[in-house]
Assembly symmetry: C2
Homo-oligomer: 225 residues x 2
Amino acid sequence: MVKAREDVSKLTVGRMAVYYNTLKKMKDEGEVLFASNKLSKRTGIASSVIRRDLAYFGGFGTKGVGYEVDYLLSWIGHIMGYNTVWRAMFVGNDIPTTGIGNYRELLPPGFEFAAIVDLDKRNGGYKVPGMQLTINPPASLEKLIRSHHISIGVIAVPYKQAQKVVNSMVKAGIKGIANFSAVSVCVPEHISLSQMNVTSCLSQLSYSLSTGLAEKYPCSTKNII
Amino acid sequence: MVKAREDVSKLTVGRMAVYYNTLKKMKDEGEVLFASNKLSKRTGIASSVIRRDLAYFGGFGTKGVGYEVDYLLSWIGHIMGYNTVWRAMFVGNDIPTTGIGNYRELLPPGFEFAAIVDLDKRNGGYKVPGMQLTINPPASLEKLIRSHHISIGVIAVPYKQAQKVVNSMVKAGIKGIANFSAVSVCVPEHISLSQMNVTSCLSQLSYSLSTGLAEKYPCSTKNII
């Protein structure tokens, strides 16, 4: 288990995920060392914030030299739990129409979908394009979590069914849930929960429109924080 | 137009939205003055981060006294563009089933839905429970944006249709788009875009599971950042 500072904010964690993805791209491009202002330009996050975030977990940079890409990648990966395998289940509704899209494409390192459930039982047996998985009917949800040793549930379901799906997952022994449904859900204290944030997403818009600061990288997912 | 610091990060903006909502609740509970550690306890964000964020836009606190709830609310509202009216359009698919839920409940101050469009034209004419709005068919999207002076689009549609909806909105003169579909979309440089972030949401889970720091307020939306 990683020793973590208890007071680290969720937003720092969110930024660490952005750093990790950007550093990975920099590594692929052959970079070995970098200065914080380079990471700043690519992520849209201020250099001062980047230096503070990285120092927060132990201070990795050498003044006048910068940071080592490789070392930082492995260290952030360690902090973020990316070096563990997280077996996840995706639960959607009418997946052949709505798609898995970003839920698969933007999966952090270490995460893998081990099972997929569609609340519409008529979609049972459908093979998801580009994945080695077949859709399961809702009745098999709890059994699958147990038999596939699934620890994380990712749900994007109609609002009336969200809490019910969460309850089944908790009953089957899930450890964490990411909820992308259009409604907030409740979990017992020992379960981790992460929900998409409508208020924050819309506040970004009103802020950027009222200040006249439009997004600088509108087509890139790397800057979506 | 608000004068903004160009280097403020999206995450600071996200936190400001959280502060605003929490302060509003504190005001309703009769609080007039507060110390940063009180806001920290209620939001889960470190006191040092809160003090830095607030100082960033101008320094509001008095040492040993704290911050004034009223003053801070109006100031954050000004910075965030909450004092402007943002006329928004929601575009979903099969809204009678999927619901508007959080898209309405977690709307920041200043935002109001002026029109709703369902990609399934069979739902045209449906009255959304609890709202004074009737669902419009997809063909009327562009016309509605123009006639209702809509500046912000909120979309949660199947992945195959997301970019098409965005293109129509841009063509009709929308200023900003919040995309909650399971796929990233592209917009021209002058349009603001905010997309839900699957990577960050899941990274929160792996971080919290690998450090053993479970969420402290699992049933509250106020801490979802």
